[in-house]
């Protein structure tokens, strides 16, 4: 437990001093502001791009347009930034050869992985829910949100998908001595989930549904319970990926640790 806390503090310091924390929060806060703003300005933007003389009727934006932006921007931009920031979570230790000093002091591979994953997930949690609250606040200010349902569950599921991605990128990162290996593996996992999702029957179990079916929950087309298997599989795979990351680091050392 002592080593876990100590290495978590080291990770937090690293994210602060290498500006990764700043970048992560800045991106998600900008997204949080951008979602309602884009929805609000969309009619004006569309109007300005129309050829002169052509008139179209664009419905006034609603709260659902703001949330549509949220569930489009966060998976498409936010999650990409998240993966880029954490792609070197373990491989950077290999590349910079900084792990040797820690392992020879008796740092256990499991402690190292768990402390890194805890910090990464905490940062994702903070940045994501800040983004959600900013979007929620502006949307509440500009529009009536009473027609939406299960705001929390819709957002929670996307958060769980982020947790799943962090575990995936951590596992991949523990097996590569470069930044790109973990990016390619994580990308491949997402592509495989996307290919599987082409068979509609699999969507109840596919973790990718947690990042694509959120508007269905908000609109009342689906209920939160419809995604229970996707949630369970995403969480189980997150645990499995974390275990894989521990195995990845354990390859570095075979000596029994104190």
């Amino acid at each position: 437990m002592r080593q876990y806390m100590v290495f978590m503090n080291k990770e937090i310091l690293e994210f602060i001093r290498t500006y990764k924390l700043l970048v992560l929060f800045a991106v998600f806060m900008i997204l949080g502001i951008m979602n309602p703003l884009t929805a609000k300005l969309l009619p004006y933007i569309m109007g300005n791009f129309m050829p002169e003389g052509l008139t179209i009727n664009i419905a006034d934006p609603t709260a659902m347009d703001s949330w549509t932006q949220f569930y489009k921007n966060v998976p498409q931009m936010g999650l990409v930034v998240l993966v880029l920031i954490f792609a070197g979570i373990i491989s950077n230790e290999y590349i910079n050869n900084t792990l040797v000093n820690m392992l020879t002091k008796g740092l256990k591979p499991a402690t190292l992985v768990l402390s890194k994953v805890t910090v990464a997930m905490t940062m994702w949690t903070g940045a994501y829910w800040c983004c959600f609250l900013i979007t929620y606040g502006y949307t509440e200010y500009y529009w009536d949100q009473s027609k939406g349902s299960h705001f929390f569950f819709a957002a929670l599921y996307l958060w769980i998908f982020g947790i799943f991605l962090i575990a995936c990128v951590t596992a991949a990162s523990s097996f590569f001595k470069n930044f790109y290996g973990s990016l390619i593996v994580t990308g491949a996992v997402v592509v495989i989930m996307y290919i599987i999702s082409l068979a509609p029957k699999t969507n109840d179990y596919n973790p990718l549904s947690l990042a694509s079916g959120n508007m269905n929950i908000l609109n009342g087309v689906a209920s939160p319970g419809d995604y229970k298997w996707s949630v369970a599989i995403a969480l189980i795979l997150s645990v499995v990926f974390t275990g894989v990351a521990i195995l990845g680091i354990s390859r570095v050392s075979f000596r029994r640790w104190k």
Binding site: F7, L13, N97, N101, K105, R255
Partner: protein, 296 residues
């Protein structure tokens, strides 16, 4: 004296390349043990296996009598190119290492200050990313010593340092001997002669010679006598005399080197040939000559 490390029949291959070949090695407790070998001889591989960072293919390693897999002996390690978290300063890094290594909080601060002063960077407050190679080497030694290790392993700690940095690092390592067993790998033989009391010569994955430096020099090689002559004719006559007596010798541009510790016999040869050299020196064997002899 008990062995701190005892290696028997250790082998290690990388693919088809056999780096260690049934290697046996014993490091006496409290000694400063020089592991000497040319680049690629397997020095770093031995160290990484002792540290548990690599697994051997066969053989056994015992640390203070315990099998390596069950040993809880604290081992400090200074890699050949020490790497750190560049965004930290030295105190932060030492504190991290101390806490990971299980040093009590009350003792850690004083131990950190003591070690950073010892290696001469106690007053440096900048981040490690701004350190020179020499400063990193000093911090590397300090971090290796933070957990008061029973064994300190230093992998070519002076290979990229300037003369004064090299001298300082060697002095620090030498001061660790006695309480701590130090294994020190290098291909700079003068460094070994300066601080080590035991040495092993590694060649083609095997220890070809080991013992104290004095023992090795005494038992494996005799003195050499170097002679310089005033003219090429004198030199030719001397060489002819050596050949007629079947005495081994070698020549370089200005001198003739005669192997053997019988100075008197060389004087007899000179006397019989009526020769008077310009210079005649008796050179005692050193580690470098010994190493070259073994390698060649």
């Amino acid at each position: 004296m008990m062995d701190a490390i005892n290696i028997e029949n250790l082998s290690k291959s990388f693919g088809t390349h056999r780096v260690l070949d049934s290697l046996d090695m014993a490091v006496p407790a409290g000694s400063i043990f020089g592991l000497v070998g040319e680049n690629g001889a397997g020095k770093t591989t031995i160290m990484k296996i002792i540290l548990g960072l690599l697994a051997g293919d066969g053989g056994s390693i015992r640390i203070f009598g315990e099998d390596i897999s069950a040993s809880s002996t604290t081992i400090g390690y200074l890699p050949d190119v020490p790497s750190f978290y560049g965004y930290m300063n030295a105190i932060e890094y030492m504190t991290l290492c101390g806490k990971i290594g299980g040093i009590e909080a009350g003792k850690l601060k004083s131990r950190t200050t003591e070690l950073l002063d010892l290696v001469g960077i106690g007053n440096v407050k900048t981040r490690i990313s701004n350190y020179s190679r020499g400063m990193k080497q000093r911090l590397g030694i300090a971090q290796a010593l933070i957990a008061e290790p029973d064994i300190l392993i230093c992998d070519e700690p002076t290979s990229a340092l300037d003369p004064s940095g090299r001298r300082d690092i060697l002095d620090i390592i030498r001061d660790q001997g006695g309480e701590t067993t130090v294994i020190f790998s290098t291909h700079i033989l003068t460094d070994v002669e300066r601080i080590c009391d035991q040495v092993a010569l590694l060649h083609h994955g095997r220890i070809v010679m080991s013992g104290s430096i004095e023992e090795l020099e005494r038992s494996h090689r005799s003195n050499e006598i170097i002679l310089e002559f005033g003219s090429a004719g004198d030199r030719t006559r001397f060489v002819a005399a050596l050949e007629s007596l079947d005495r081994p010798y070698r020549q370089d541009r200005s001198s003739v080197v005669v192997a053997g510790d019988k100075t008197g016999s060389v004087i007899d040869i000179l006397h019989d040939a009526g020769l008077m050299p310009l210079r005649m020196d008796v050179v005692e064997p050193d580690l470098e000559k010994l190493f070259m002899e073994m390698v060649e």
